[in-house]
Structures are given as C-alpha cells and as structure tokens.
C-alpha cells in the first residue's frame, strides 16, 4: 500500500513536469514558526497574478510551469500580514515559509534554511502545539511529553512525573521555560519540574545536547516551552478550560486573557488551579495520593520592529501527597511491601493531603530587551530570577509531622545576552554569553540532617553556532560552547562517614571546623569544572516530501549537588544514598540520524541514535549497612562508561478524508560497558497505535482510540542480597526486577460548537485505561507498593472568546 502510494506520487509529479513549456516546479509549505503547525488557506501568488495557489490543510502547495528565474511571490494569510518574497526558481525548488505571528518578528518571513528558526538544524526534534497540550490541562507536563516518541518519564506515583529523553532524566534534561533555564532542584528522582503545563503555548523537545544556545550539558536533551502568540491588533481574547476528573474525584480550571494593541503593547494573564483527592488503582484506593496545584503568570511588554522588551512573571505552587504505603522503615519493611502484592496501608477515600507529602513553590521572573540592527542581526539581553522552595514532610514522631524534614531554598540569578547575525542568506551566526549565580540554603530547623548542603554555585558560559546553506539541498551546522562551573559548599559530615569514604586522606584540607563534640566535621569543598561542548550536523532535503538529518553532539556535564554531597537515609526508598566528592564531569558523544518522509496521505520518521557516555554517573546498590532501625542497602554514586542505543519510529496514514492512524515505537538499550551489565532505569520498549475518525460536518466531531503496549524490560542489573534481621537470613531483594508487560486502551472524543461571534465551545471526553487493567510500570518508583491508576474519565469544556 505504502509503496503503491509512493510510486503513484512520483509518476504523477513526473508526468506533470514534462507537460509544460517552462517545466520548473516550486514545492512549498507554509507553517507557523512557533508551534510548527501547518497554515492552511495561505495564498501564494506571483505579483502579476498569473500563478496563484492556496495551501492545503497540511500547509503545502505546488506551483507548476515556472521558468528558471527569480519570481516575486506574495504570501498572505488571514492571521498574518502579507509578505513579499523573492525566490530563485531552478528545476524543482522547495521552500518552507515560516510565518511569524509574534509582533517582534513580523517582518521576518524567510525561506527554508533560514537559520535558527528551529531550535537546531540537524538534531532530532518534536513539538507539541497548544491543542495537544490542552488535552493534558488536568495532568502534568511529563504526561503531555510522553506523546512524543522517545520521551518517557520517571514517576513517583501519578502526580510526580519527571520527563526522560532517550532514557536519561534529571540534570541531563534541561527545561527552558520561556527562555529561562529552570532551576528547580531537578537532581532528585522524586522532584518533578515545577511547571504548570497550562502556562505553555507550545513545547519542543530536542532529543540531545545539540541546542547549544541553552546549555552544553543536556546529555539527555532539552525541553523548550514557548509562550503563546500575540497578534498585532487591538484585540482582547482568551480561553477557559474546565476539567472534571473521575479518578481522584476532582478537576482543574485554567483561564487566560490577552489584551494587545496595534502599537505593539501587550499583556497576558493566566491562572490555573487543580485539585484531586486520593486516586484509585483498579482494586483499591491509593491512600494519600491527592494533589493541590496552583499556577499563574503575567506577561507584558512592547514589541516594535526595531526594538522591544518583555517581562514575565510565573508562579507555581504544588502540594503533592505521596502514597502512604511507600513510606517504610527498613529493608524488611520493603521486602514485606514487595511480597504483599498490594499496599500495606489502604484507607477510605479522602481529599486530605497527609504525610508523606511535598510542597514546592517556584517564582520565575524574566526581563528581556532586544534590538535589531539593520543589515546585521538582532541582539538581546535577558535577566532572570528564580526562587525555588521545597518542603518534604515525613511521617514523624512527636508533634513534628507539621515540620518539614527537608526544607531547601534555591535562588538563582542569570544574565545572558545573544547576538544573531542573520542578514546573510547563506551563513548565519549566533553567539551568546551567560553568567549565573545560585545559592542553596538548607534550613537547619528541620531536626533532620541535611540531605543537600548549603552551597553557592557560579556558572559562566559562551557559545557560537553557525549554519551554512550549501547549494539547494544542504544546510550544515556547527557549534561550540564552553562552560565554567564552580561549586562552593559547606557541609557537615559525620566523622565516621568521612573516614569510611577515605575523605580524611584525600580531602582533610577542606575541613574548616572540627565538631568532634557532636561527632561531625564542617567541610568546605570548592570544586571547579571546565566543560566543552560541540555539535556538527547537516540537513539534506531534496524534494518537498522529506529530509535527512545527521547530528553529532559532544557534551559535558558537571556533577550535581546530589551526586556530590548526598549522605543519608532516604525513607521512601529504604536506602542510604552516598554522594562522592571525587566525581568528575561526564562526557557524552551522541550520534543521531533522522529520516523523515511526509507525503500527502502517509509519512514516517525514523530516528536511530547512539550515545556513548564516558564517566557516566550512576547510582547503584553497593552494600548493606546496619543501624538500629535494621538493615539498609547502600546506594553509591559511581562513574562508568555507558552506551545507549535506540531508535524512535513514528508514522501516520490518512486512509481517507475521515480515517487516519498513527503509529509509534520507541526502543532504547543501555549498557554499562565497564562491568558489561545493563543500566538501571532504562525505559522498556513501547508501541503505540491510534485510529482517528474525523467528521467536520458534525460540529468538527473527532474520536480517537489509543492503544499502548509496554514491553517488559528484560535488561536490568542483578538484584542485591541483603541480610534480613526478621528472618536472620540473607534474602534476595527484588528491587530491580521489572514488572510484566502491559497494554492500555484509551479514547478521546471532541465536539465544537459556535456560541456566536468569536466565542467557541469545545467539549471533549477522555478515557484512560478503559479496561481498568492492573499494571505496574518499571519507571514508577512506587511499583514496589501499589498498582498504577485504574480507569480515569476526564470531561473537558473549553471556551475560546
């Protein structure tokens, strides 16, 4: 079938091109710069009006019978200002026209290859637009990102969802929120990004470290959240989304309003609130899994052609209850939980958020100024401020349950500046500088030893990226970045631990205060890291139906505070985690290929990659220590050489005007090359298929049936043996054994109604896990204790006005 379509396509286009006197063809597509959605109904015509076409629903157009000459085309679209473009037509010429809604860029309508419009030229990328994000209005950013092939998540229950790209998460994944790199303690496994998914207009994932403008240490990848478009006219518009969520017996509301002016002034406000009680697995209530989340943002500024500025303030506040049964005392409690098959604490449904729970608050402020220099390029200067506060409440004795066990405050100031030379059609340059200061304060009033110490951190970075257009088909890119990081920490070590680690031999000069009276030492490590990153890539696009991309990225990442300084008992995991002061930066070499074919009725993308990481920092079980509470496995950080190999495949077929299907497959294999064993926490292969039916006549009726099959992870490190005081014998702790494969079905459907004027109502129904299947996911840290969520029904009303 596919082959047939392919051949038909070529025969047809071939025939057409020979039937004209002037036989050149212009193939093009018109897309939205920000969310990459195709723009239909754009009119492309020659100035004399002899040729005139309209872009189709995929934004595509073809103009036949052109001569080899330079034509001036007028491109107009109802939502954009009309633009004139000079295009050299020669043989079969393709162009991609990216129309920019943003006021600041209105004059920039450029031909394909125009540099720096995508996040990168040659890396693997995927974008979720506003419409796709709105579906997840009552969920988390991590849930939304899982729609992208190759993106998975490390969960702690259903509410703490930490995105992972190509098997890597945490500090290896950068998150850019409106141009600001999130600094929200991404080092912890149970720390999700402090972002409200409703505050983003679109989200792009770069699967690798190639977007050097954002940082050189994104060994996993970069997640770029961008704001919504603001139209240049005197308008007032907004939307409100209300969700009712069956599982958790709650819901959410999100509202946003934008006012813009002809002169370029604009202001946007957005706020959302989400509340859920205890969620439910198919057979029982998951006690203490409620959530309370509030997010809001204000964005305003002025955009003129020559210069502009904008200010953004975003607030995020979440209180998340953590499954009561996942709080355990020692290794025997963990063994009991694993063997029991169901949670050891099951209570009646409640909206109360009990302990253990976490409370996080994030303030983000940004001020940005830009200026365009005619015939040269654009310069911008940005300052941003972030304050992140994290409380973790444990089940405690005495009257201490209202006192946090962990109380950290992370404050970050960043100043950055970029210059883009984009006046030259063939060569574009992007350079930038960045300085960052960060302070972490660990409140001693918790009555619990600090897991992460007080520290100050300084970053200085600079980068250059060049893109060069070679002939009609090739765009080459290359970049270099240097980052200096200094971390200056003050930490108390127990003398027994200091000596057991051998630090008394290597780091005794770091001791600044001897507190033998309490068995501790105050230590002041000051470590410097010099990191270099490079990318090289090429994009080849021969005809309008696809492209081939090659990308190599070298990136280095300095160890994070958890990797360096962790030292203590981690209750939810019943393990003692030990950082290592001796850790060095890790270095990744990643090669990624992308083959995309996009025909009218079907298309596919195949993205194989190989990531070789030297000095990969890994946390793994290394032994057992005894305390008065019993035995605990010790997990230590270690460096090794690792290899990740994988492939992401996605495709679509439009069977007819009404029915289409989507297919996705992702596979990644991780190996510790030094020990020749599999890496821990690598996502299992998954295969997703969906079939959609669309009937625009029936109020834009759409229905979509989803199937997601997750294979069992068969490659995992060996389990560990621990001494069980209960039985007074050594037992195998099945901490690494993955759960079985599972298959989930889901359904989405939607209807649109016009309420007169500009007002639109969209109603949608989403059902997840239709069959109420019992399952556990390998990358959910609560898989030892409870099944994952049962059926969930979400009813959504959206009003655009």
């Amino acid at each position: 079938m596919k082959k047939f379509l392919f051949i038909t396509f070529y025969i047809f286009t071939g025939y057409m091109s020979f039937s004209q006197d002037c036989e050149s063809i212009l193939l093009g597509s018109v897309i939205d710069y920000h969310d990459k959605t195709p723009l239909k109904r754009a009119i492309i015509q020659t100035l004399d009006g002899s040729k005139r076409v309209i872009s189709d629903t995929n934004g595509k157009f073809k103009i036949y019978g052109l001569c080899d000459a330079t034509y001036t085309f007028e491109i107009s679209h109802p939502e954009c200002s009309t633009v004139l473009l000079n295009i050299d037509v020669s043989g079969k010429t393709e162009i991609e026209i990216k129309l920019e809604h943003h006021l600041e860029e209105l004059e920039e309508v450029e031909v394909v290859g125009e540099v720096l419009f995508d996040q990168t030229n040659s890396a693997q990328e995927a974008t979720l637009n506003t419409k796709k994000l709105e579906k997840f209005s009552a969920a988390t950013l991590g849930d939304a990102l899982k729609q992208i092939s190759g993106v998975s998540s490390l969960n702690t229950g259903a509410n703490i969802v930490k995105p992972a790209i190509h098997g890597l998460n945490g500090s290896r994944v950068l998150i850019l929120n409106d141009g600001v790199r999130m600094q929200d303690m991404e080092w912890g496994d149970e720390h999700a990004p402090n972002i409200d998914v409703n505050s983003a207009g679109s989200v792009t994932v770069v699967k690798g470290a190639s977007a050097l403008q954002y940082g050189g240490d994104a060994i996993g990848g970069v997640i770029v959240l961008a704001k919504n478009h603001i139209f240049k006219s005197d308008t007032l518009f907004g939307k409100t989304i209300v969700n009712g969520v069956f599982n958790g017996r709650g819901g959410s509301i999100n509202s946003e309003l934008t006012k813009s002016f002809e002169k370029g002034w604009f202001v946007t406000g957005q706020a959302s609130y989400r509340r859920l009680g205890d969620q439910e697995a198919p057979d029982y209530i998951l006690s203490n899994t409620g959530v309370k989340e509030f997010g809001g943002s204000v964005h305003f500024g002025k955009n003129a052609l020559e210069w502009g500025w904008d200010a953004n303030y975003t607030y995020y506040d979440a209180e998340i209850a953590i499954l009561r049964a996942s709080h355990i005392g020692n290794v025997d409690d963990l063994i009991r939980s694993i063997n029991s098959g169901e949670p050891l604490v099951i209570r009646d449904f409640t909206y109360d958020l009990g302990n253990p729970r976490q409370k996080v608050r994030h303030h983000l402020g940004k001020l940005k100024f830009y200026k365009r220099f005619e015939g040269l390029g654009k310069w911008d200067l940005q300052y941003d401020f972030q304050s992140n506060r994290r409380f973790e409440f444990d089940v405690r004795r005495g009257e201490r349950s209202d006192r946090a066990s962990i109380d950290l405050e992370l404050t970050t100031h960043t100043i950055s500046s970029n210059f883009k030379w984009d006046a030259n059609k063939k060569l574009n340059l992007h350079v930038g500088l960045l300085g960052r200061y960060q302070d972490n304060f660990a409140n001693p009033d918790t009555g619990v030893r600090r897991l992460i110490p007080d520290y100050e951190k300084y970053d200085l970075g600079g980068f250059t990226i060049a893109e060069y257009r070679l002939g009609q088909n090739w765009v080459l890119d290359g970049g270099f970045r240097y980052d200096f990081t200094q971390i200056d920490a003050k930490k108390f070590y127990r003398i027994s631990r200091w000596e057991e680690r051998g630090y008394d031999e290597d780091f005794q000069d770091l001791v600044i205060e001897d507190r033998s009276d309490i068995g501790q030492l105050l230590v002041n490590p000051v470590f410097d890291y010099h990191n270099y990153s490079t990318t090289l890539g090429a994009q080849f696009s021969k005809d309008n139906t696809g492209s081939f991309r090659f990308n190599y990225a070298l990136s280095q990442r300095a160890p994070n505070p958890a990797e360096l300084f962790s030292d203590g008992l981690h209750h939810s995991a019943a393990r003692i985690e030990l950082g290592d002061l001796r850790l060095q930066s890790e270095t990744s070499h990643k090669i990624a290929l992308t083959e995309t074919r996009d025909f009218r009725n079907w298309g596919f993308t195949v993205e194989p990659y190989a990531n070789f990481i030297n000095n990969f920092i890994i946390l793994e079980p290394t032994g057992v220590e005894f305390t008065i509470r019993g035995a605990f496995p010790v997990w230590s950080y270690r460096q090794t050489n690792a290899r990740l190999l994988g492939v992401d495949i996605s495709s679509f077929i439009n069977w007819n005007d009404f029915v289409s299907t989507n297919h996705q497959f992702a596979l990644v294999k991780g190996k510790d090359l030094d020990l020749d064993i599999p890496l821990i926490n690598i996502p299992s292969a998954n295969f997703g298929n969906s079939i959609s039916y669309k009937k625009p006549k029936w109020n834009n009726f759409q229905v979509n049936l989803r199937s997601n099959y997750v294979f069992r992870q068969n490659e995992f490190p060996a389990n560990i043996e621990v001494f069980s005081p209960d039985g007074a014998v050594d037992v195998v702790l099945e901490i690494n054994t993955p759960p079985p494969a599972y298959h989930l079905l889901g359904l989405d459907s939607q209807l649109e109604f016009s309420l007169g004027g500009k007002t639109n109502l969209t109603t949608s129904l989403t059902i997840n896990n239709i069959l109420n299947t019992n399952y556990r996911e390998y990358l959910n840290r609560q898989r030892y204790f409870a099944d994952d969520l049962g059926t969930n029904i979400i009813l959504q009303l959206k009003i655009n006005y």
Binding site: R397, S417, D488, E513, T627
Partner: protein, 185 residues
C-alpha cells in the same frame, strides 16, 4: 559601531553582577540538631523473685552512619521470669534525650514486638495503651532450662492495632530492630 557599544554594555553589566554577588561568604551553617534519631535501646531485666538486674543494650551512636550497632547481652538465668523495662535514647545530643517518654506519650501509635528463639519460653508485654492494646515498654521474659536464647525487639510506628503480636500482623514502619543472642545458664 553601535553594536559594539551595546555588546560592551552587556559585558560590563555581567561583570558588575558577578562582582557584587560574591561577598556573602561569611557565616558558616549551624549543625542540625537531630531530634528524632534513636541511637540506643536499653532493656533492664530484673528477676521477679529478686536478684541482680541484667541490662541488654543496642547502641548505634552514628545513626545512619557507616558504623554498625554495638550489642551487649549478658547471660540470663534459666527457669526465671524477668520483669523487663525498655529505655530508648538519642545520644547524639548531650545530655542524651529520653525518647521513652515520646513513645509513652504516643503509645497508641507505637508497639514493641518481641520475637523469641532457643531457650526463651515467652516475652509478653505487660503494659497497655488507652485502648487496652499492648505497648511493650515493660514486658515479662520467661526463660527455660539452660541453652542459647534469642530475643529480637522491634519498635513499630503506626502499627495496626489491635494485632496478633507478630511483625506481619502489626505492619507500620520499623523504628528499631534490635536482635540479641545470649546464653541462658
């Protein structure tokens, strides 16, 4: 020219920013006063017919540090009933904090579970909480004839109450797990 001017403004502002943020290196952080840590379990065993008391202890002064607990369990006499009392301490503080009182105050949320082996005949709690369920801060230990004996004392926080006196039945989280092996003469 204008460009260079702008770029130099940027660089200068960057430097200013860095020079003014590096000055608060002064104060050192204070050590955390660890209130909740349990380091020591002492059991005083007094023969019910009178005689010298024997003390078992289980002490882990560096808490979740690398050093293992130090155990002391002197010999017991055979065919004897001992009235035992438990003391729980936090010795990271000076003077040591008595956690026993905290357990006592929250006795409905705590329970000591006793597991026996060898020549130990029984170990039974003799105190109760407000609901009449056993707590175990005091208990009776009965020995058989001479031989080796074992006693494992486990303190569970938030157990299911009432329960059958086993670890599985009690549930909750382990705050103390102290195994003793000793000789009965």
């Amino acid at each position: 020219m204008k460009t260079i001017k702008y770029l130099s403004i940027l660089l200068t502002s960057g430097l200013l920013f860095f020079s003014c943020s590096d000055d608060d290196n002064g104060g050192n952080p204070a050590p955390v006063n660890e209130e909740e840590v349990i380091t020591t379990l002492n059991i005083t065993l007094t023969p019910s017919g009178g005689g010298t008391a024997v003390t078992f202890s289980y002490q882990d002064l560096d808490a979740d540090g690398p050093n293992p607990p130090v155990v002391s369990a002197p010999d017991l006499a055979g065919n004897t009933t001992y009235n035992a009392t438990i003391e729980v301490l936090n010795e990271t503080e000076s003077p040591a904090e008595d956690i026993t009182a905290e357990v006592q105050a929250e006795d409905d949320e705590h329970q000591f579970i006793f597991e026996i082996g060898g020549s130990v005949a029984s170990a039974t709690a003799t105190d109760t909480d407000g609901d009449g369920n056993p707590v175990g801060l005091s208990f009776d230990l009965v020995t058989n004839t001479a031989g080796a004996g074992t006693l494992t004392v486990t303190l569970r926080h938030e157990p299911t109450k009432p329960n059958d006196g086993t670890l599985t039945g009690a549930g909750g989280e382990t705050d103390i797990a102290a195994p003793f092996t000793f000789t009965i003469n």
